[in-house]
């Protein structure tokens, strides 16, 4: 585009054109921020689930007839499985030692808790200092809620497996370490203990309730889950012995799907801001064509064909939208990475993004390059489409009449 210099001269001398670029920039910035936040949620949530539960989780029915070794063999023989780690998940009620909560379940001090029995290969749990307590790792929010610190003791009440009547058991656990996932709900509702300790406490047989499966790099979790299901189907297990195989996406459940839907819906809704900003280009360019009739006549007299004049105005529109998009990306990136400024401004110092609502103790942000590429392409294509009418009008001007304007 050799008339780009003229387009730039117009841009730099006519305020209306940078203003049009600025409106596109604002639209792109808002959309960038929204997409970055939702992508952040999705990425963080995915990372969190995969880190916690693996790519695929195999949940074993109660009182399954097979042994741990048998299960491990069946899982590891599936093509694409890189590791299979057993876990023992057991629910209980937790309360601080000395509090009356454990003895008085009406108290609000008592919390339901998921005890995750893991092996050292997954999480190394240091031994407890107290002789009558088992070691436990919990997150800081739960420790704060229970009012304990490292070395503190909590009481857990649960029941043993099997038997006709439930047999309650009570065990002291010493907090030996903290874990952090960034997910507020997870940090409140679960603790890690040694699997052997938990199995012994609850007398479960076999000593596992789930398997955390990691797939080979690049293998989709859904296809890995299908292979595992097919492998179990070939084992001719009794109907009640069939395990439930879930991918990390299944485990994400409604929150993950809601975040994905929200990202799509808000992308479309905020996309209209960009669309309106680009639509404004029609008015801006029509005004420019009206004001620059004489220049169009000069271009024609100097040998610019109607097609070239069309191209010039399309190029001018592209210049405006490109600069607007570039500025919008920078602004969006800045906004996305300084959300706390907006939070402070909008909330008058009070937090808006509460972790109880948004699950994470921070607002995650991730730039989704394909989405940004689509955003840029859509903006530029829209600006080209919207410039066609003004450009066509400019190309239809009669040189002689255009030159007469003063």
């Amino acid at each position: 585009m050799n008339l780009l210099r003229l387009a730039w001269a117009y841009f730099s001398h006519r305020l209306i054109l940078p203003v049009a670029a600025l409106s596109i920039a604002l639209g792109v910035a808002v959309l960038f921020t929204v997409l970055a936040v939702f992508q952040g949620f999705l990425v963080e949530f995915e990372g969190n689930i995969r880190n916690f539960s693996g790519d695929v989780v195999v949940e074993v029915p109660r009182l399954v007839a097979q042994t741990e070794a048998q299960y491990k063999e069946w899982l590891e023989e599936v093509e694409g499985v890189s590791s299979a780690v057993p876990r023992l998940h057991w629910f209980g009620l937790v309360g601080r030692r000395g509090s009356r909560a454990v003895d008085d379940p009406r108290s609000s001090d008592l919390s339901g808790i998921l005890m995750m029995g893991v092996d050292a290969e997954e999480l190394s749990i240091a031994p407890a200092h107290s002789e009558d307590a088992l070691p436990m790792v919990m997150a800081k929010p739960l420790a704060e809620r229970l009012g304990i610190q490292l070395g503190g003791i909590v009481e857990i009440v649960t029941q043993r497996a099997g038997g006709r009547r439930p047999v309650p058991v009570r065990q002291s656990f010493e907090l030996v370490d903290f874990f952090h996932t960034g997910r507020f709900d997870q940090e409140l509702d679960r603790v890690f203990v040694r699997r052997a300790d938990l199995a012994s406490l609850c007398r479960t047989e076999p000593p596992f309730t789930a398997w955390k499966i990691r797939g080979e790099e690049g293998l989709a979790a859904a296809s890995l889950a299908t292979r595992i299901r097919q492998n179990f189907e070939q084992k001719n297990l009794a109907m009640f012995d069939q395990p439930r195989v879930s991918t990390w996406r299944d485990l994400g459940g409604n929150f993950l799907r809601a975040a994905e839907n929200q990202k799509g819906i808000l992308g479309v809704v905020f996309g209209f801001i960009v669309l309106v900003a680009a639509y404004q280009l029609i008015a801006t360019l029509l005004l420019t064509v009206a004001e620059k009739r004489q220049d169009i006549g000069i271009l024609g007299a100097l040998g610019a064909s109607p097609l070239r004049i069309t191209g010039f105005f399309v190029g001018l529109s592209l210049l405006i939208s490109s600069l607007g998009s570039a500025l919008g990306l920078l602004l969006g990136w800045f906004l996305a990475h300084h959300l706390h400024w907006g939070e402070r401004l909008l909330g008058h110092g009070q937090p808006i993004f509460r972790q109880e609502i948004y699950k994470f103790d921070h607002i995650p942000v991730a730039v989704d390059l394909p989405s940004i590429a689509v955003l840029l392409c859509a903006t530029l294509c829209t600006s080209v489409i919207f410039s066609l009418l003004p450009a066509w009008r400019a190309s239809r001007l009669q040189i002689v009449q255009a030159l007469r304007q003063r």
């Binding site: 050799n2 117009y10 007299a301 040998g303 030159l403």
Partner: protein
């Protein structure tokens, strides 16, 4: 050099080289007609104009206001279309070209100098001069941009504005703006230059200076120039004079 009695299609007087055989004209028209519809009536502006322009020859086109001078220049410059007749540029019919092809002819073979200068206010003098080259270059990135810039600078020096390259039109006087317009018209070295009252917006002294420059450049470069004017003194300095009255060359 003035020749007020020259026949409109006479080739004899249009032989600056002075050779025995008449050279073929650079630009010629035959039986050129142009009319406009005004309400229910038709306004005939040009009625069968026949003329020739020759290399290195400056031709004055005189006529009163509304005689059709500007219309003739617009037709010759392919900025408007005729109703009847032919325009031949170097023997090639150009009056019925499509818009794209006509634009190419304007870019490569015709130069224009307007009464109102017609410079783009947002561009500097140098950029205004470069504009025809940028248009002629099309979408190609591979032409020698540096060479073009040097050439535009040289033409600006020729018109005496070597030190005003970076000035924008509003920072130049009327005479200087017209000089920029002349440089722009000549930067592509077109064989034909069409000038419509080039001194009409200038005071007498400045107009004379600009005219001197224009005539000098056209003659030294061997450009065929048609200069529309209603000023007899200006016409008298041209090589030939054509009178246009009621749409016909007298």
């Amino acid at each position: 050099m003035s020749d007020t009695n020259v026949s409109p299609i006479s080739a004899n007087s249009a032989n600056p080289a002075g050779s025995g055989t008449a050279p073929s004209p650079v630009l010629a028209t035959t039986n050129l007609h142009k009319s406009y519809r005004v309400g229910n009536s038709t306004l005939h502006v040009l009625r069968g104009v026949e003329m020739e322009l020759h290399t290195g020859q400056v031709t004055a086109l005189m006529g009163s206001s509304g005689s059709g001078k500007s219309t003739l220049l617009q037709l010759l410059g392919l900025m408007d279309s005729c109703n009847q007749g032919q325009i031949l540029l170097r023997g090639r019919c150009i009056h019925n070209l499509r818009a794209g092809a006509a634009a190419k002819v304007r870019a490569q073979e015709l130069g224009f100098v307007f009464q109102q200068f017609q410079l783009i206010q947002e561009l500097s003098a140098l950029e205004n001069v470069l504009l025809p080259r940028r248009i002629a270059r099309g979408l190609s990135w591979f032409s020698n941009r540096g060479q073009e810039r040097l050439r535009a600078n040289a033409v600006l020096k020729e018109v005496g504005l070597g030190d005003r390259c970076r000035h924008r039109p509003h920072q130049l006087s009327g005479g200087e703006q017209q000089r920029v317009a002349i440089a722009r018209a000549l930067v592509s070295s077109p064989p034909v230059l069409l000038a419509d009252e080039p001194t009409g917006n200038l005071d007498r002294q400045t107009g004379n200076d600009v005219l001197d420059l224009l005539l000098n450049l056209a003659r030294t470069r061997g450009t065929a120039m048609l200069l529309a004017t209603h000023d007899k003194q200006i016409a008298a300095r041209c090589d030939r004079i054509l009178h246009l009255e009621d749409g016909q060359l007298q």
